[in-house]
């Protein structure tokens, strides 16, 4: 080629720059391989006036050529001539059906193959045409690189967005299932979400206790659960709560290319979902426990209120006597009890009792004792007979380890004559003129035995100045930090030596003395005392 011809070509190429720019712009807008091929086909047709443009593609050296654009079916006969190489190969032909066969390697190891027919005016491809064609090939290569980078970028964005979706869904699902109160709903939701986020085709959640399958939930609903376990592409995990195993199994991870293996991210996600389910189940359990506890607490409160009403809020005034009492239960429902009742004949019945044990059961027995006692003393009675009947009733009403110790007096306030009966209770202190007498005649505690052994009672005379201290062992057995009891002896001394102005002050002083002994040691038993003094 001489310089003039060379300059001509350069001039004409420079005119074609705009065409090259437009060509690249068109090619780089292609969204699919076919579109890229189609656009290139248009460019070649427009620039070379050739209608017979056939384009092939293969994604690696050993693959078969794939037809992208076919305008002449006979172009397939040229396929054996499409040789792959690390360089562009272009063969030009004259007087043949096709004027050009070319292969071009691409950066990702794939290849374009072109089989181009003759110009419409039947002329041969000029030197300019050949150069122009090579430049368009280069544009195709650049556009293809742009295309695959766009594809990679799209895939990367998709993948990143999907990771965000997975994390977001993990959080949202945790919140949602924590609001669900029905265990079945939260199990279904978590299985659903775990399957969707790992792209599993199917999933199963089994609840197993020992060797027994308690329940099975499948996803989707009416799919064959067996297919999940039969699959060789599956992942599973489990959590355990109260001896029940919750086993999550997911199978057949989907992709656009078919079923693929689950990856580490999927295993992490599944484990995270399982932990969320465990947390939700634990929360539901604690919630139910709290509700039950609150319900029981309210019932105990109710029982305690009823219980407190048995012990008189205000003691009756006994003419010529001073009387005061106190009951400090160690639990909400106590086992100690006292009562003062005026009988029809003007005498007074005073009782103090202590149920073995504490809590609701003891409170119920106290109620039984109180109701029965009041029923029996409505009319004429003998104290020993009443004791016998109370024994039988309590024996029948209670469990073997439960019984009630009690001390009952029937006081004639005018004369001071007092009949007493001690049913297994602590010896009650009675003092007259500074001399202590322990009142212990009676029999077994109520409800302890039912051998028909008769009770005994005795009579004392309360003179003016005489006093009785009714108490329960919650006082004498009150412990301090050194495990030392308050003791009978200390109480006796207190009873004898304390001579306050009235019964109420005596009771207050007694409690103060007990508290001085126990200091901060928690109260382990009910503290009950009743003090009667004849003026």
């Amino acid at each position: 080629m001489n310089i003039v011809e060379y300059n001509n070509i350069v001039d004409r190429l420079s005119v074609q720059v705009k065409s090259f720019q437009e060509g690249f712009s068109i090619l780089s807008r292609s969204n699919t391989l076919k579109e890229l091929g189609t656009n290139f086909c248009h460019i070649l047709r427009g620039n070379f006036f050739i209608s017979d443009v056939n384009i092939f593609y293969k994604n690696n050296e050993s693959a078969e050529w794939e037809s992208i654009i076919i305008n002449n079916g006979r172009c397939r006969e040229c396929l054996p001539h499409l040789k792959t190489s690390t360089n562009v190969i272009i063969d030009y032909f004259n007087d043949k059906e096709f004027s050009l066969i070319a292969t071009m390697p691409l950066t990702d190891g794939s290849f374009w193959g072109l089989v181009i027919g003759n110009k419409l005016d039947k002329t041969e491809l000029t030197e300019l045409d050949r150069i122009t064609f090579q430049m368009f090939l280069q544009l195709l290569d650049n556009a293809y690189q742009s295309f695959i980078y766009q594809e990679k970028e799209k895939q990367l964005n998709f993948s990143l967005n999907h990771k965000v979706v997975q994390l977001n869904s993990l959080i949202d699902t945790g919140i949602e299932i924590s609001k669900l109160r029905k265990t079945s709903s939260l199990l279904e939701l978590s299985l659903e979400r775990a399957a969707a986020l790992t792209n599993a085709s199917r999933g199963v959640l089994q609840l197993i206790s020992g060797d027994d399958i308690i329940s099975e939930i499948g996803f989707p609903n009416n799919s064959d659960i067996k297919k999940v376990f039969d699959s060789d592409k599956k992942i599973d995990t489990f959590v355990e709560f109260e001896s029940v195993k919750y086993i999550f199994t997911l199978s057949e991870k989907e992709s656009r290319k078919g079923i693929i293996d689950f990856d580490q991210t999927d295993e992490i996600l599944l484990a995270a979902f399982a932990r969320q389910v465990l947390a939700a189940i634990e929360n539901e359990h604690l919630h139910n426990e709290a509700i039950e506890k609150e319900r029981m607490h309210q019932e105990i409160e109710m029982a305690a209120t009823i219980q407190r009403r048995i012990i008189p809020q205000k003691l009756p005034e006994i003419d010529g006597y001073d009387l005061a009492g106190i009951n400090i239960p160690s639990l909400e429902i106590g086992g100690d009890y006292y009562d003062v009742t005026k009988l029809k004949d003007g005498r007074y019945l005073i009782i103090i009792a202590d149920v073995a044990g504490k809590g609701v059961a003891s409170g119920l027995l106290v109620n039984t004792l109180n109701a029965s006692l009041h029923a029996y003393v409505e009319n004429d009675f003998k104290l020993t007979d009443v004791a016998d009947r109370l024994n039988k009733i309590i024996y029948k009403a209670s469990t073997p380890e439960k019984y009630i110790t009690g001390f009952i007096i029937i006081l004639n306030p005018t004369t001071g004559t007092t009949e007493y009966l001690n049913a297994g209770h602590n010896p009650i202190f009675y003092s007259n003129n500074g001399k202590l007498t322990k009142l212990d005649k009676g029999g077994f505690a109520f409800g302890m035995l039912d051998f028909g052994l008769p009770y005994e009672s005795d009579i004392i005379q309360i003179e003016p100045g005489g006093k009785i201290l009714f108490y329960t062992d919650g006082i004498t057995e009150a412990m301090n930090d050194n495990n030392e009891e308050y003791s009978d002896e200390r109480l006796e001394l207190f009873f004898l030596n304390n001579k306050p102005a009235n019964a109420e002050i005596f009771i207050k002083n007694l409690i103060t003395d007990v508290k001085k002994h126990t200091t901060d040691t928690p109260q382990s038993d009910d503290i009950t005392a009743l003090y009667l003094i004849r003026k």
């Binding site: 998709f158 979706v165 085709s201 989707p220 656009r256």
Partner: protein
């Protein structure tokens, strides 16, 4: 709990309404795309996808929906999602689908957007 996939199609005012039921996964997504191409081949360029009965979509299903969006974008067509479950709406938002498609609370609202 979610059942396996099914769809029912109706045409309204130069638009095809695809009502889906069940899990939109590889199978569900492919069925939606096949149905879309069937109608798009007949010149229908507007699609309403009613997901009232589908509250689970996996990423493969989403990739099929993206394919429909890309195809419609080339011909100035529209895709409108209706009756989206809140969790699906959030997923689609994160995946960027609403940059190229619209959403509506129900079918009537979706038809108004055409």
């Amino acid at each position: 709990m979610l059942s396996e996939f099914n769809l029912v199609t109706e045409t309204k005012d130069n638009c095809v309404v695809i009502n889906t039921t069940g899990y939109i996964n590889n199978i569900g997504g492919q069925k939606i795309v096949d149905e879309f191409y069937k109608h798009n081949g007949n010149g229908i360029n507007n699609v309403i996808l009613n997901l009232a009965q589908s509250n689970v979509v996996n990423s493969i299903g989403i990739s099929f929906l993206i394919e429909i969006i890309e195809k419609l974008n080339q011909s100035n067509g529209k895709l409108i999602f209706s009756n989206l479950d809140p969790s699906i709406e959030k997923t689609f938002t994160i995946m960027g689908l609403f940059q190229f498609a619209k959403k509506a609370d129900n079918l009537d609202e979706a038809l108004k957007l055409l």
